[in-house]
Each structure stands twice: as C-alpha cells, then as structure tokens.
Symmetry: C2
Subunit: 190 residues, 2 copies
DNA sequence: TTTAAAAAGTGATTTAGGTCACTCTTAGCT
DNA sequence: AGCTAAGAGTGACCTAAATCACTTTTTAAA
C-alpha cells in the first residue's frame, strides 16, 4: 500500500512540487478501494461521493440510452482520474455508470476533501487546475474528431494514440466509444 | 474601461473572493483588445499568445477540414473564455480559427501571466481550476449528446439550453456546431 | 474438458442524413 | 432605393452507416 501512495505522489509531482508535510496532508485525504471485474464504481441514480484515481486496472464510463444502447464516454486506466464529474461536482445522483473491465484499485477523493486541500495547499489547486485543463483540451479534440472525421479515421487515430488500450478492450466497446456500430467497426481496417 | 474591469472582477468573484490588493495585481495582467465583425482573434498557423475573456460580442471557434468545410467547436460570448487552448497551453501555432460574429471586446491573458497569477495568488488558481472543471463537464455532456442523440434532438436541446445564442447566430453555423448539414437542419423543427 | 456465454465476422436490407441544384428571402452596402 | 451577397428553404437523389439475422471464434466458467 505504501507503494500505491508513492505512485500517487509521483502523479502529483509530475505537475507540481510538494513538501513532505504537504504530501502527508494530501495523502490523508484519500481512501483506498478495490473492485473486481464487472463491479460498479458509479451507478445511475446513486450518490457519487468520490472522484477516483486509478492505481491499476481499467474501467469504462458510459451512459445507456432509451433503447438500452451503451455509449462510452471514457475509458480510464492506471494514472487516470474518473468519476461522474457532473454529478460529483453538484453532489447529485449519478447520471452515468462506471464499471470495471478488469480488477481495479482506486484512491477515492471526496468533494469536501478536494476543496479543503485546494484551499489549504495552493500546489494542489494548481495540480487540479492543470489536470483539468489538459482534460478539457483532450475533450475538445475528441469533439473535433467526432465533427470532422469519419468513423474509420477516428478508429485509425485511436489505434495510433492508445494502442495498448485496444488490446485490453473488446472491439464492441471501442465501437461504442467511437460512436459507431460494432458491425461497422468490424468492417473497417481488415 | 473601468466598468469593463469591474465586469471582469465580478466574473472572478462569482467563484472566489479577492482582496483589493489581489485584484489590482490580477487586473494588471490583462490587456485590452477590440475587434470588428469578421476579424480574426486566432488563425491556424499563427502564434496563440493569449486566452481571451469576452467583455462583449460573439465569436466562433472552428476548424476547416480538407474539403473546406467548417466545423464549429465553440461559440463564445460575454463572460466566456475562448482560445485555441491546446496551442496556447503548448505555445504552438494555432490549429483552429476564431473570428468575430459581432464587434467584440476582450481582455487578453498570456500563459506567462496566467501561471504567474496562479502561483502567486491561490484564489486565482482555484478560480481557473473551477472554471476549467465546469468547462470539462460541459464538453463531456456535448460528447454524450453527439454519441447518444439524433441531430434533431441535439437541436432541440440547444434551443432550450441557449435560446439567446440561436437568435444571434445564423442557422447554418448552428448546423455546423451540431454536426449536421444546413439543409438537414432546415428540415427540422418546422 | 465440455458447455455456455461473450465477442467478432458477414450478408441483406433499411435509413438518417449528406449532397446537389435551384429558388426564395433577408440583410448590408454604396 | 436598389443591388449584391449571405442566409434559408426545398425537392431529388445518393451514400455511409445502422439494423437485423445469422455464423464462427474465442473466452471463461462449471
């Protein structure tokens, strides 16, 4: 477990510097959680008490439409943050599902703890600011890819950008992430 | 102009509190800029020196694909921030265009000034952290809408969410924002 | 190690939305 | 006021991708 905390500290220190005292303070605001494949981290209608930093494992965040079809908002693995950010931020019931594609371990951060850290340790505020900014930039690029590219070139782009992910995730989920049917995806590439 | 600065201060103070001294410090990091309709704020290939807070007016941020078709990433008006965030963050040449749909006024913030403020005034770091987080949440919802909704329901959704915007923007640009052709949009709604 | 379930491939058919071509309308100019 | 250009509507046709139905392959679990 100490090793897991070291990983988290490294994750912070890639972006900002923390003194040992600051780190001890930060560390004390996280809880550990472990889930098996197929277990839920977040469910529609349930409280979203935390955002999660993934120590190891792989999850998918998705919503289900009226026809029961799954639409994948995000895959998240080691070193990624995941939550229903909207519900979390407003402390409202979940609007999406997040479940494990592999056995996974997490550090959990409550809204209260996050805000406390951000207002007591400026480096933490800057850490989350910069992380959030990077996330924003990524989502903008995904939107542009949805607007400007064909499904096939989005697939090729993803193959290049996250080859490791493709290996770990069934193609039908990739299809759902790209906004294309699994049959159509299966006819690409070859 | 003093009034414009007051608007910006209000914008900050909706999220965080600033002392008068802090505000004077913050204020000194912004430059004023004014553009007429059709003028460019950002162009592909040009340096992106600033992010812009819009005092008044309306701009569109868009990219142009190989076929010359315009894809709108964002509309931004009074009280919104706009930039080519990706190029700005990495201090690289612009990858999108931003131009004015109406005469507009801006406060301009350089990366250096933003980072300086964020590391000297924790409230400013928290301001941008929270803003960025809201932006992230909005983009996630836009992605979900692109994945789960038909073009027609995206249009209805936008009509509800930003009715004022629709009035100020030609329908063909709305179409481009929604990822649908102007002919198809014109056949909706009735 | 066999059995069930999940994943993946593939043909046939349908459909939402794109494209093209043209008309009508509205908004800025000078 | 009159002219040009941008915006918007609409019919005809086309196409990328969805859907449906079924088979084959792979994975996991009893």
């Amino acid at each position: 477990m100490q090793n897991n905390y070291n990983l988290l500290r490294q994750h912070f220190e890639e972006i900002v510097s923390l003194t040992d005292d600051e780190w001890d303070f930060v560390k004390s605001h996280f809880e550990y959680k472990s889930l098996k494949k197929h277990q839920f981290l977040i469910q529609v209608g349930q409280p979203v008490a935390f955002e999660y930093w993934i120590i190891n494992g792989l999850v998918k965040a998705y919503s289900i439409d009226e026809k029961g079809k799954e639409h994948i908002l995000q895959f998240a693995m080691e070193n990624y943050w995941v939550s229903d950010h909207c519900a979390f931020q407003h402390q409202e019931p979940g609007t999406i599902f997040v479940d494990c594609l592999e056995d996974s371990e997490f550090f959990c951060l409550s809204l209260e703890n996050r805000e406390k850290m951000c207002f007591e340790v400026p480096a933490v505020a800057n850490f989350f600011r910069i992380k959030s900014n990077h996330g924003y930039i990524n989502l903008q690029q995904r939107i542009l890819s949805l607007l400007t590219m064909t499904a096939e070139s989005r697939y090729e782009y993803l193959l290049n950008k996250l080859p490791k992910l493709i290996q770990r995730v069934p193609k039908k989920l990739i299809a759902s992430y790209l906004g294309v049917s699994r049959e159509t995806l299966s006819r690409f590439n070859s």
